[in-house]
Symmetry: D2
Subunit: 286 residues, 4 copies
């Protein structure tokens, strides 16, 4: 038996970039948090401390800022592809690059004034290897709630089951969605808006018997709306709202007063896919 | 010398309340996080463990939920006043109550569907004593940014000063504002929207030579907009955006590419007040 | 009526300093997060943008690092005093400085190797005005738990009270304590250890009928242990541990299985003081 | 083309359990946060809302508490195995269970008194399928620092590289380690302590030319120390400490005064493995 190096990668996480475009009086603003991770022929530094293949993570950070100047910071997917291709093409020892972008939205208040949006974060993760490219777009932190049109019953009961069946409950979740594109050249902004709208519509319009049913409906809406999307992964925490027992105070509670719980919480995860799409690179939604 | 009990209070923090109003098909949603803190004749429990004056904090929580049913959860200020008055009036040993409400907004997506707003949190804190009432409204987490129209120069330099003067910089902050009302019966929603709009307008319209100048302009706007407001306290972190030096890469950077810094950060705090208003209870903005 | 500037201050928050002392082979490590806040004759910048009195917050940051080299970073209280006095003495428009230090402990693993302690954070806040000095030491994040020796009963019941009385419960809290010193020249490390030990002993040794009783006992222990301490403020969240009802599963639960709750939580705040000490500057424990 | 359900699972996250063992006067305390995730024949609920296979996540929570009473909460790995096997064996539609436990340590202060340790969190994740069992132990939040014995040079330079080479720097990281066991019946506490000690020793004793070299040394130490461990995955953020330029103040800085940076940060991830071990289930370290 001997001890050997297995799968490895390294990079720079959470490089904060704000890019202003000053075309005349009306400025534009892009706010990205960028992660870069490279893999390839990196055994030497692990085994002997020979860094001849280790492009510094500081250089990755510099590259983010320089590229933002040279190429602009457009759509997150585009910017991520540009960076990932650069590292794979310019460093022979690098066989694969993963670049992630979290994009915060800012609403316009004036020609040079903005208010940060807190409703959700748009994400993009790309993988570029010497042979393949994979683009995954996403959204996190989008919190949705239906005050009704949600039931949960017909579930199996074992000796530890005490949950009553319900024909009317609040259904709420904070959507974490990632979707894999078939290609690498979509109209990214339009594609994102399309998926986002479909996810929201799927949540709002589904009369739900389980959060799983809602998940599948949301994913199906997204795939039907955007043909450039191969598959979508949803992680939906069930943000429980517990009905308060007001009977000790002589009061009824007809689904009016709730405790918003923090934890524990249900967590429903699932992929909705097309049956005819090529396989993804491993770990695309992690 | 002897050891004695000084100022003290106790209560329940962070009671999470979601209140649904189900008037026909179209539901309404209120999302509050409530804090209650009582003070008065509470020496016995500290000194001997005699709890005859200690209304349980669990009861405070129950009262929040029961009141949400009995009285509804309307404006945060109203709900806080209702609760605070209840504790002072119903428990003779309680001389003062402080009740705080953080209100999260939800945007309507349909008759019973909502999306959580993350742009800011509306707050209210009320103090009710046996003699006085004080209402403070507020907002937190409102993040604003101007890409230009901000300078900083003319400051004193000592031996530790290296900051260059600048005639053009990004100015960004996350507004934490609290304003004290003259009375206790404003039209709360309209008042809040009025102050919020004035704060935003003050930020957007001020050509700034310092964040202090912007702070005073924001506060002045708010006081001019709403005569029911006695004074306003602003705590404005200077969310620094550092210009990246791209010269090593042969690139210019004409206020286009920035690092958004996390910490350290400047912190500017100040009160803007009317010169003829009655004094506040101590600690009104803490 | 006119609109005027009220109480104000400004400064630099969260300057991260790590200071290494390299005396021979065995190194020492200090890890501080420093906040500086100045007040005085600062109306001009608010009213007109005249910054002639506004020492940049960037300079405050530089001063922290330069002082760490010039004077070393010894006890938090000492370092804070040094900085605060510097600003008040060197800038005539500055009438008062508040400097805070959060100190993270690191355990020694070898001559130049350390492991960060996560058990608590030691704090110091000093105020230096042209006339007075006030030193407040503290600790945050110290989480203590007794599995028994805690009761809660004899409390008043109103129509919203459902809490059962209990003769045996878990008592747990995360101690946030601040204590004001009589002077400004204690042996700070020894003083801190003395108060810390007294607080822990007070928690462990008190058979508790309420968290208030424990609070007073902890504070009294601290004052008795350290005569240089004038008074102590404790904010003790009641970290509720709820007994799980296992009866649906045919199981008993004799104080063995608990849910550790997050929120809501009780919050007990109180000052324990000597009856013969001079008054503090306003807001010393905020 | 049709839209189909892909990989999916569901469960209960972050169930907070505190278990007290009251054997006579001296109590013991276990503090777990448990996650359960089940997969199997779950298509129906997604496609039609038929919940006949969906054991409620509320039941998973109940099972955690009931098992803590019935079987006690011993080592995290044991408790996780017990739960995972229960769900796979008792629910025919469940083909696989993943159970995770985060264990917080508490130091004894007295027979029934404890102080929470903040130095690290011990973790365990087990997968039980109808055919296989996999146990992964881990540690998070262990923050280590060497003030010297770390160099970084000999790296490639491209046009975006500005980092100077260094022969002496601070090396600091917050260890996130997970190690896969060969079997499912180790002496878990001893095994954990052995790996933890080896990781720390690997960090302290390695004269480092890169964090990658330190990572491999740490992993190798762990594998040599514990033969029951098949492989170990380390994710090591490079917690950068930037040397402050004090030359503007006429001061030298011989590796004495540092800024502790937050982000961006380097992130080094790698697996150290034995060359003769059976393959893991997919995604064992995610």
């Amino acid at each position: 038996m001997s001890i050997v190096l297995g799968e490895n990668r390294y990079g720079k996480a959470e490089t904060r970039l704000v890019r202003v475009v000053r075309d005349g009086e009306t400025h534009a603003l892009v706010d990205f948090t960028v992660g870069v991770s490279l893999s390839g022929d990196l055994a030497a530094t692990h085994l002997t401390g020979d860094n001849s293949g280790v492009l510094p993570t500081d250089t990755m950070k510099n590259t983010v800022y320089a590229f933002a100047k040279e190429h602009g910071a457009g759509e997150p997917e585009e910017f991520a592809l540009l960076l990932a291709r650069h590292f794979v093409e310019s460093q022979p020892q690098v066989r694969a690059a993963r670049v992630s972008v979290e994009s915060s939205g800012w609403a316009r208040l004036g020609p040079h004034s903005f208010r940060k949006n807190g409703d959700y974060t748009r994400t993009a993760v790309v993988w570029v290897t010497v042979e393949q490219t994979q683009v995954v777009s996403g959204v996190t932190g989008l919190t949705l709630l239906n005050t009704t049109a949600s039931e949960f019953h017909g579930f199996p009961r074992d000796k530890y089951t005490t949950l009553p069946e319900t024909g009317d409950r609040i259904l709420a979740t904070a959507v974490d969605a990632r979707w894999r594109h078939l290609g690498d050249d979509a109209t990214w902004a339009e594609s994102f808006e399309g998926v986002l709208g479909a996810l929201v519509k799927g949540f709002v319009d589904t009369y739900s018997h389980s959060l799983q049913q809602t998940l599948f409906a949301m994913g199906s809406h997204a795939l039907r709306a955007r043909e450039e999307v191969a598959e979508i992964r949803l992680a939906l925490p069930n943000k429980h709202h517990y009905l308060v027992d007001l009977s000790p105070f002589g009061l009824t509670n007809d689904n009016e007063v709730f405790v918003a719980g923090d934890r524990p919480y249900g967590l429903i995860e699932g992929t909705v896919t097309r049956d005819d799409v090529p396989e993804a690179l491993t770990g695309w939604y992690q």
